[in-house]
Symmetry: C2
Subunit: 346 residues, 2 copies
DNA sequence: TTGTAAGCGTTATCAA
DNA sequence: TTGATAACGCTTACAA
């Protein structure tokens, strides 16, 4: 493994000159540049990143923090898809990606600390946002560049950069669509109760109902983790009631598949007996039976924008918090239909 | 940000002493250890990784190389699942994960070189294995610790460490299962033609047929990328024949969903008219209609073992190549049934 | 335009 | 048991 000194010696110049050639400094003559470069690939020289990072105090690496494996698990296609977006942008800018491996909330906090204090990364992308998470306050206190995907806690709204959808609006629209199909008893199956996205969904759902002049019925809310089983559970709880909903707004496609499955096993037909809508528009939502009507939230774009934003955070003088709102789009498929209003027996 | 010198000064000792405390050297008295440790967390001291990596010549980071985004895309739940396995093991050992972001084959090769030459990582896990890929020969030439998930090229079989399933056996078993259901015209839908796993599947399929005394019909092979659309395409090609297959062995669950979808749209019923089996047993295979009979290959375990192996490769004196074969298990669901033999009209 | 030398924050060797 | 000091490989004033 050759060092900058080897190159210098062979090229008959000083190490600093080689360094300047690497940096493509304009102060170096064309001739020497060429000679040095020749030697460099003759030797297959690559700069040692650690030496470099040590003096530069920057790493060109972005830390990506996954939610703890306990909730919102890797199963959910949401994560590969954001990662794909992040990756694409990072690659363009020659940034590397350092992935968190923590399995618990404490484990993750430790990792974040390590990333920050030991200067492992230049900036961080948080792939989740929950109400009580200690990571955001920490990063803020340290004035460390970071971006969260999702909505940050209200208190921090103006000081943290984030990329999000307008989940209130999206949920409102989704609910309104169901209302337009003449449904009135609409169940709401939320995700983790401490995730902001869940609060926002709920909010939008309520707004739509209120606007339509329909009373919000607390018996129609239920919260579960964003996994298949969560959907199954939710259905049991909601449909066991005396007057069960005729339509279901579900926080996540994966959950919705659970919902579908459970409904089917109970003998309900979708969409004839009951309509189902959900969020995310991941690949699977197209493949289910029936294909899901779902709200596309452009997950790839969320990742891509997040990566763009950290880069800006890293470059900029600190504290210029920015927000980016990614759009949403209703994808109509076959899990919804107009409510059949039964003739009242004469 | 405090350094080892700050700690030393405040504790009234030399930097080297602090360093020894960090390393928990037995030569340091209990008293000083305690005092130094106190100062350390008073200052919130964390060692600078780059300084450390620079002198230690090791990073405690594992590089993870994804296949180029062009084929075998992130869509496929295979990747999150291996990653989950890798993550779990890496986390236990306090190893970090550095993710490749390359989108093209050349881009990836560049990244690998950079990881190796600039000493960014201690070892590498390759998440794919194709016939002509330049990465494996490169890593071998550099004597760099690495593990491939999948089967390495024949020539390197004894010199590279890998984790794999016995895909020949698995494919044979899967085909035999279909044969036992009395099918005789069995189509084979392979993945990328230059992936070893595809060759192995094909091989196992042929073995099963030969053993059963059934002629291998080249009209019944078809290869496509492991994506939904690949499955759809394949069905068109296979079913357009004069005597189409009555059962299909499909390389991947995701593809199989495409197969299912296309068959359904053509008016075939699965499994009544045609049986479908596939590989991987990813979550979706359980959720499809009908749920897929598929070969579980324990993807999480593949990742976990790969991480274990790189660690050993890193620790060991070079060149002690090891192989680890992970099991497989047939998961019977509802996409298969006994062939209905039509009475010949008298 | 180039070279010299100091410094980045650690660890390891050698003395004390 | 501890302290000085030289290295690790690079960048960047400052000099030439």
């Amino acid at each position: 493994m050759s060092t900058i000194k080897d190159v210098a010696k062979l090229a008959g110049v000083a190490p600093s000159t080689v360094s300047r050639v690497i940096a493509d400094s304009p102060k170096i003559s064309k001739r020497t540049k060429e000679r040095v470069k020749e030697i460099m690939d003759e030797l297959g020289y690559y700069p040692n990143v650690h030496a470099r990072n040590l003096v530069n105090k920057e790493t060109n690496v972005i830390g990506v923090i996954m939610p703890s494996a306990s909730y919102a698990p890797f199963q959910n296609p949401f994560f590969p898809e954001v990662l794909r977006g992040i990756t694409a942008q990072a690659n363009k800018d020659k940034y590397g990606l350092y992935l968190s491996t923590g399995q618990t909330e404490e484990g993750i906090m430790e990792e974040v600390k390590e990333m920050v204090y030991s200067r492992r990364v230049d900036g961080i992308i948080l792939l989740y946002s929950t109400t009580s998470d200690p990571v955001i306050p920490f990063l803020l206190r340290e004035k460390f560049p970071f971006v969260v995907i999702g909505r940050p806690p209200e208190d921090y709204k103006d000081v943290v950069s984030y990329v999000n959808n307008d989940n209130v609006k999206a949920a409102k629209m989704l609910t309104e669509y169901v209302l337009l199909l003449k449904h009135e008893r609409i169940g709401f199956i939320g995700g983790r109760k401490d995730a902001y996205v869940t609060l926002d969904h709920k909010h939008g759902y309520e707004q739509a109902l209120e606007t339509a002049g329909i009373e919000v019925n607390p018996m129609y809310f239920v919260y579960h983790d964003e996994v298949f089983e969560g959907g199954e559970q939710a259905v049991i709880e909601l449909m066991a009631q005396a007057t069960p909903p005729t339509a279901l707004v579900v926080a996540d496609d994966l959950m919705a598949l659970g919902v579908l499955r459970m409904l089917t096993s109970m003998g309900y037909r979708v969409p004839e007996d009951i309509s189902v809508v959900s969020f995310n528009n991941v690949l699977m939502s197209e493949l289910s039976a029936p294909p899901l009507t779902t709200m596309d939230i452009f997950i790839y774009e969320l990742g891509f924008q997040a990566a763009t934003l950290v880069r800006e955070q890293i470059a900029a003088p600190p504290l210029a918090a920015q927000a980016r709102i990614v759009g949403h789009k209703l994808v109509r498929r076959s899990s919804t239909s107009r409510r059949i209003i039964k003739e009242s027996t004469p």
